[in-house]
Amino acid sequence: MTIKVSMKVNGKPVSAEVEARTLLVTYIRENLRLTGTHVGCDTAQCGACTVLMNGRAIKSCSIVAMQAEGADLMTIEGVAKPDGTLHPMQAAFKENHGLQCGFCTPGMVMNALDFAKSHPDPTEQEVRESLEGNLCRCTGYHNIVKSIIAGARAMGGKI
């Protein structure tokens, strides 16, 4: 059974006929070919697939595409400025060496964007708690935590 889904992704309206069981992450990666959103597990643990849906960080592997009908999505491809300048949170990850292999990074950044809205000057403890649903195997989290603290301060509560 196919179904038509329409939503806004990174500011652009998109629509497609997909199988009803198509996960949102599959729709983003395969239909839209936005491959910056990654899949690292099949149990909604790793957070590599995190995107913003109506401004909230969600794991795009854990809903089907049609649940995002009419939604406003932002993926990692939509975070930098149109001229390619990095968003302050992205810049903070670069400056603090908050990434190594880069695979978990898009999910980390998307989750951090949502977190930073309500935490303009977070503590280490708050950041670590916010990363409960995002796994990284490279960095030992040390520089990710530093990146998010710096990025949140630079954002001043606004995406």
């Binding site: 149990t43 990692i76 992205q90 195997r137 490279c138 030992g140």
Partner: protein, 784 residues
């Protein structure tokens, strides 16, 4: 002249693409008309494969083909080879059972590949794979390496499930030393089985072109040339010149992406059969049962000491679990990369180590970050700390009494350490960790009802694998050199090609620093290319913390050739004798004058040879080099861990972790710190949270991120790091390698701290809250 780049905290060139979602990992590669593969995997740990019923699957919507082991056998596809031949105590070669890419006759572990279904879409392939019905006749399984020899044989060739019994050292002399020891410390423990769990699952996408009968395989690999060599020469019988292997952006490896896996072979072979690209991406559940695992030793270890705490001898007996088949480098991990490290930082004059490597009905085991060296460090540092407690000697003092201080130092276990300064890292660690105030912190913890403990680990590792002649004499079936190429473009920018592969390590930055520094260029003027056999001349890849020491040196050798040719060109341009030309970071100067040519001018002359010694010199500026190391490198360091144990729940927190490492010269301290952080987290994971559990039937109980706990951000603290620098003596950069240190040193430091906090001799890894709580209960009952 630009500021020096070697040693600078340069931000990474690769970050922009990863931060903007424009990296390209294997699963991001979409080839025109690609098809999708789904593997049918064994649900049983040990069974006879009676019949594979796939007629229904073949007729399912979108299905293009179903292949089994019989199809591969009929096509004369070979088995997956093992790259290291171990010779046993009787001089006989290890038992090498066939390892077919798809099972033939029997299955030997849960998750073994039984058949592949290829369809137009991934969903169709997966749906049809579920329609494949396999008749199995179950056999008893064995999963515990201690029980392997009495278990049902997995392979006809090894009726006692033993691959080899191997030994290093003089047993009779060691036994004699134990006879005269004033004190003997004995421990037996399991080094827990781990799953590497790179966050990017393995993936492969293969295509074949009938136009020239060539193949291209995109694969998440740490060493694309090795993958090509093994696949073409041993499995598919293809000319290497017809196969291109591309390892694009790779999302972490930690060892698990070194190996040639059956999935890679099957999709490559099937791409030609179907005349369509065939793509496979592992999901996490598949990864848990099909990626090579790490560690899994059972060890009895003894240390003999004299009255003064001087080490007299060490005796180690290990049962190493290899899993169901020999993975690519499985055989050398619990032998060559393990027993040779048992000297640690100490002058232990006599060491004997005996390793029995066994087959069990579990996923194959191979190198995982550290690969043998964490296991060795765990043996040494748990023994030393325990001996100190038993003899009531301060553990720091006991270590100092036995440190090696004269270099080069020939250990009794084959390695020759070129250099080191173990007091320097120990002194720095004691200070950085503020050990002198530990008592105050322990009291403060006690006031909050917590038990605080402190533990040390003084590790050594052998990196920069390896001198090919030494490796060859020990059974390696490949050379272990590295290759590099410097291509200077006419306008003076440079492309560097390296056989090392970066999957998080930041080679595109640190290798560029080395080149830009030498040639007087900016970081923007240097590009580093890796991971594509059609671009890079050759390579042995990235593992064993070898990239900068071996791959980096190959690049330096190529740079030497560039400079040598540049001098000839500059001499001509400056109308001077070549012997009068001095070179320093981008400037060719006539000695004793201010006459000079910049690197860019020389490069331009090489490609626009209007004023050029064409009768003596070829135009162009492009050099390559192979480097085979003279020795291993020996990074070392001291780690100090403090834990806090909750007396009521057994929950253990890392209260502080200090690491002082000696990696020799450091190219980029920011990147090095990141490598240490990541290694420490994996080492802490092994100590506290990670470990495979198999049912006796061979079912993996810990088969997901929900059941197998890799550290989350709340499981680790901010780390305190420092370095000391004793440059490697036998490579031009003075570098040693830093990728695995954290994972090597951390487990022993953590477990020494936990046993200190609890006041018990040993606690099994992983020290979960439940495990620690049981110890607390036993202690409190003992008190009553």
């Amino acid at each position: 002249m630009n500021a020096p780049l070697i040693g600078a905290r340069v931000q990474r060139k690769e970050d922009y693409r990863f931060l903007t979602g424009t990296g390209q990992y294997t699963d991001d590669v979409a080839l025109p008309h690609q098809t999708y593969a789904a593997f049918v995997r064994s649900p049983h740990a040990h069974a006879v494969l009676k019949k594979i019923n796939f007629e229904k699957a073949k007729k399912a919507p979108g299905v293009l083909a179903v292949y089994t082991g019989e199809d591969l056998a009929a096509a004369k596809v070979g088995g997956l080879p093992c790259g290291w031949l171990i010779t046993d105590v009787n001089g006989k070669p290890m038992k090498e059972p066939p390892y077919p890419p798809l099972a033939q006759g029997k299955v030997r572990h849960v998750g073994e590949r039984v058949a592949v279904v290829i369809a137009e879409t991934l969903e169709q392939a997966r749906d049809a794979a579920e329609m494949v019905k396999v008749d199995y006749e179950e056999l008893p399984a064995v999963v515990d390496p201690k029980k392997a020899s009495s278990g049902t044989p997995l392979h006809d060739i090894a009726p006692d499930n033993t691959c080899y019994v191997w030994a290093l050292g003089d047993k009779s002399k060691v036994d004699e030393a134990f006879q005269r020891a004033a004190h003997v410390t004995k421990l037996d423990f399991v080094n827990n089985r781990l799953v590497p769990n790179a966050i990017e699952p393995r993936a492969a996408n293969a295509t074949h072109s009938r136009a020239d009968d060539s193949y291209t395989l995109y694969v998440a690999s740490q060493n694309p040339h090795v993958e090509r060599l093994l696949m073409t020469a041993f499995v598919l019988g293809l000319p290497e010149s017809k196969v291109r292997v591309v390892a694009p952006d790779v999302g972490g490896g930690f060892g698990s992406k070194i190996y040639l896996y059956g999935e890679d072979v099957v999709v490559t072979w099937a791409a030609k059969k179907l005349n369509r690209p065939v793509k496979w991406t592992s999901d996490r559940s598949e990864a848990y049962v099909s990626d090579a695992h790490g560690r899994d030793h059972f060890t009895i270890a003894e240390l003999a000491l004299d009255n003064d705490g001087k080490f007299l001898a060490m005796r180690v007996k290990t049962a190493a679990n290899l899993g169901a088949y020999l993975s690519t480098f499985a055989s050398c991990i619990p032998t060559i990369l393990y027993a040779t490290l048992l000297a640690g930082q100490y002058k232990t004059p006599l060491i004997y180590c005996e390793v029995t490597a066994v087959f069990t009905n579990t996923t194959p085991v191979d190198a995982y970050r550290g690969a043998g060296r964490p296991e060795a460090t765990y043996v040494v540092e748990r023994l030393v700390e325990t001996a100190a407690r038993e003899m009531k000697i301060d553990p720091v003092d006991l270590r100092r009494r036995n440190f090696i201080r004269d270099f080069p130092y020939q250990t009794p276990v084959a390695l020759c350490y070129d250099t080191g300064n173990y007091d320097a890292t120990l002194d720095a660690a004691l200070q950085l960790a503020d050990v002198k105030n530990f008592g105050k912190r322990k009291d403060e913890s006690a006031q909050r009802g917590k038990l605080r403990g402190i533990g040390y680990a003084c590790y050594i590792e052998a990196c920069g694998i390896a001198p090919s002649n030494v490796a060859g004499s020990l059974g390696a079936r490949a050379g272990l050199f590295e290759a590099g190429e410097i291509r200077v473009h006419p306008t003076g920018t440079v492309t560097v090609f390296t056989g090392s592969h970066s999957h998080g390590q930041g080679h595109e930055t640190s290798f560029a620093q080395v080149v830009a520094d030498r040639l007087g260029l900016t970081m923007e003027q240097v590009e580093v290319v890796h991971g594509d056999t059609s671009k890079v001349l050759f390579g042995m890849g990235t593992y064993g913390s070898r990239s900068i020491a071996v791959g980096g040196t190959a690049i330096v050798k190529a740079l030497d050739k560039i400079v040598a040719k540049g001098k000839k060109i500059a001499a001509h341009l400056l109308e001077a004798s070549e012997s009068d030309i001095e070179y320093d970071r981008g400037e060719f100067k006539v000695a004793g004058t201010d006459r000079k040519k910049m690197f860019g001018e020389v490069a331009f002359a090489a490609y626009v040879p209007h004023n050029y010694p064409l009768d003596k010199l070829e135009p162009g500026l492009n050099e390559n080099a192979f480097y085979d190391p003279a020795n291993f490198t020996f990074p070392s360091g001291t780690y100090v861990c403090e834990v806090e144990v909750d007396k009521d729940t057994g929950a253990t927190q890392i209260a502080a972790f200090t690491a002082v490492d000696d990696f020799g010269k450091i190219i980029n301290p920011m990147i090095v710190e990141g490598q240490v952080h990541g290694g420490l987290a994996q080492g802490i994971g092994q100590a506290l949270t990670e470990g495979c559990r198999y049912e006796p039937s061979g079912q993996l109980v810990t088969g997901s991120f929900m059941d197998y706990c890799i550290p989350r951000s709340s499981d680790v603290p901010f780390f305190k790091l420092d370095t000391r620098e004793t440059p490697c003596t036998h490579n031009p950069l003075g570098v040693k390698g830093c990728g695995e240190a954290g994972a090597i040193g951390a487990p022993a430091a953590v477990m020494n701290a936990i046993t200190d906090a609890l006041g018990v001799k040993d606690v099994a890894m992983p020290a979960t809250a439940q495990t620690v709580w049981k110890h607390l209960q036993e202690k409190s009952h003992a008190r009553v």
